[in-house]
């Protein structure tokens, strides 16, 4: 597994570029208090809507809060949500996919349920879940995770269905290996490569999803600095103070871009099927 990742990083420039951008973002999130000594919630009515200057790198918003500082702290929320949703949806999706793929009698009911869940627009499902259970970091993460699970389950199930026909699995079954051991030892490792790739895309979608929820006013409470909340606050004063939307927008777009580039790179180097396609080209 480690060899595979090393191979992926050094062979593919996309992985390097995306990964580096993501590490920079991580550094910004961790070092937020060092990069700005202002409180992101500090209200200063006399300093409202100041354009970007030496004192206020990215201007101030309608309450006189420093946009740069708020973006710094917002990156923490975005990264926490992105990483948590990716890990949670991969975990649950993998569990469901393994069950559906390995135990044939569970396959029909589980996959029909996943089809049904997939038919519900993810954003609307998340909005409804957050608004009904009260907005907090946990409910936002759960609400974005649930719509992401079916696609993971589908991928895992597909891998299980193809791998269980392989001779080495048949051999293990023939030797009387218990199903749980076959699942964990022989089948699960085959799902890692596609899941790492899918996890990065889910992470990008989750960063966007959190921003969308906040932007629509149903995400984290308005006083918590998140990129979506900063943009939502900027809506009313957008014409006078476009920086309140542009700067958080740039950070949001750049983060999603970095994660997507990383995902593209990982897909090209980890997914053997895609690799074949690439090398087959004239």
């Amino acid at each position: 597994m480690r060899g595979l990742l090393q191979h992926a990083v050094f062979r593919n420039p996309s992985v390097l570029i995306g990964g580096t951008l993501l590490l920079i973002l991580l550094a910004i999130a961790v070092a937020a208090p060092l990069l700005s000594d202002v409180d992101p919630r500090q209200i200063a009515p006399r300093l409202r809507l100041q354009p970007p200057s030496e004192e206020f790198l990215m201007g101030t918003d309608m309450y006189g809060r420093d946009v740069w500082t708020r973006i710094l702290y917002g990156s923490r929320i975005s990264l926490i949500v992105g990483a948590s949703v990716a890990v949670l949806s991969l975990t649950f999706g993998m569990f469901i996919g393994l069950l559906a793929g390995y135990f044939r009698w569970l396959d029909g009911p589980i996959m029909r349920a996943m089809d049904g869940l997939m038919a519900i627009p993810g954003v609307l499902l998340a909005i409804a879940l957050v608004s009904l259970s009260g907005a907090s970091l946990l409910t936002v993460i759960v609400a974005i995770t649930i719509p992401a699970i079916p696609s993971v389950a589908r991928v895992v199930r597909g891998v299980v269905l193809s791998v269980r026909e392989e001779p080495f699995v048949e051999a293990a079954m023939g030797l009387g290996t218990p199903p749980i051991k076959i699942l964990l030892r022989h089948i699960t490792p085959n799902t890692f490569a596609p899941l790492i790739v899918q996890g990065t895309y889910i992470c990008a979608a989750a960063v966007l999803g959190e921003a969308v929820l906040s932007f629509l006013g149903v995400g984290l409470p308005a006083e918590i600095p998140t990129w979506g909340n900063i943009i939502a606050d900027g809506r009313a004063v957008f014409v006078r103070a476009p920086w309140t939307i542009f700067f958080p927008g740039i950070f949001l777009g750049a983060s999603i871009l970095a994660i997507n580039i990383l995902g593209d790179g990982l897909r090209d180097s980890l997914d053997p099927r895609m690799k074949k396609q690439v090398s087959d080209r004239p």
């Binding site: 029909r112 609307l124 909005i127 009260g134 932007f215 006013g217 927008g249 997507n260």
Partner: protein, 313 residues
């Protein structure tokens, strides 16, 4: 053929059933008492209890579900808690702008993305290909509300080319409609242009490797003719499937776009209902949109069967 199509339609019924159960359970099992929300802060326990009985929330879950399904089957999506209007009427009032925006965006995206994807595949490996793919990755990553505000700032506020926000129905004034719909269409379309261009390029590259393309080239056919009539036609099925999936999943983007551009559509309706916790409206809209999603997928599958007789479900 008719039997196959009917068979495919029957397979969608369980999915819709699952959707109904999921929506019902999610809304009922999520913490938070709708009756308390509707009664407002500081309402007496008696008032809340009365509202619970009024909404049928005191009944067992199974009975509530049965009542709801019975209503649905008779064409009743429920009544808004706040405006006291039938949900289906509220949806009907708002459906025009949303459908217009979705269809215009779809057509526009296909018109831009398919030629771009074909061009990238035809010029594979050159700077044109790289530029188109780089724009595709970028277009995939920039959120629709950021694009929307950039467009409003530069094209509407700075240059005055388009109205800042709002919506005019096509039946009222076609030129007003076009002026108002252009920016939302551009903002929402970006991600679909990126998606469709990508899939067009990769499918075209696969098809261009096939033997019959070499034959066509050897026959001395022109490049354009090979690209459009031989390659694109054979690449059509995967492209159509991604376009269909993109269209079916456009709902999320539409909700955000309607908020940015202040368009009175389904997206605004559902966000307002969520902010007001108008449960019947939320429930009704999600169900309708899920059924639309299933119906679009069904339509795509049937289209395949008609286009390519080898495909069976």
């Amino acid at each position: 053929m008719l039997r196959l199509i009917l068979g495919r339609i029957v397979t969608t019924l369980p999915v819709i059933g699952v959707v109904a159960i999921t929506i019902f359970l999610l809304l009922r099992l999520s913490p938070g008492d709708p009756a308390a929300v509707i009664a407002g802060d500081g309402a007496s326990p008696e008032t809340i209890a009365a509202i619970r009985i009024d909404l049928g929330l005191d009944q067992p879950l199974l009975v509530q579900f049965g009542t709801w399904i019975g209503q649905l089957l008779s064409g009743d999506l429920g009544t808004s808690v706040f405006s006291h209007q039938p949900v289906q009427k509220l949806i009907a009032q708002r459906v025009g702008p949303t459908v217009s925006l979705a269809l215009m965006t779809l057509i526009f995206s296909i018109l831009v993305a398919v030629p771009a994807g074909v061009l990238a595949a035809a010029r594979h490996g050159t700077w044109i290909d790289r530029a188109i793919m780089a724009m595709s990755v970028a277009g995939f990553s920039i959120p629709v509300f950021v694009v929307g505000y950039l467009l409003i700032y530069f094209l509407s506020i700075k240059l005055g080319l388009f109205p800042v926000q709002g919506y005019v129905a096509i039946s009222d004034d076609i030129f007003g409609f076009i002026r108002h719909i252009t920016l939302p269409m551009l903002a929402l379309g970006l991600i679909y242009i990126a998606l469709f261009a990508r899939i067009t390029r990769s499918t075209m590259l696969e098809v261009l490797n096939e033997d019959f393309i070499r034959t066509a080239r050897a026959k001395g056919l022109t490049r354009t003719r090979i690209l459009v009539f031989h390659a694109l036609r054979n690449a059509a099925v995967p492209i159509i499937s991604v376009i269909g999936l993109g269209f079916a999943s456009m709902v999320g983007g539409v909700v955000v776009t309607e908020t940015v551009f202040n368009i009175p559509g389904i997206g605004r309706l559902v966000v307002d209902a969520v902010l007001a916790r108008d449960y019947p409206v939320i429930q009704g809209i999600i169900l309708v949109l899920a059924v639309v999603y299933v119906a679009i997928n069904l339509a795509i599958d049937i289209l395949y069967m008609l286009v390519d007789p080898r495909i069976r479900y």
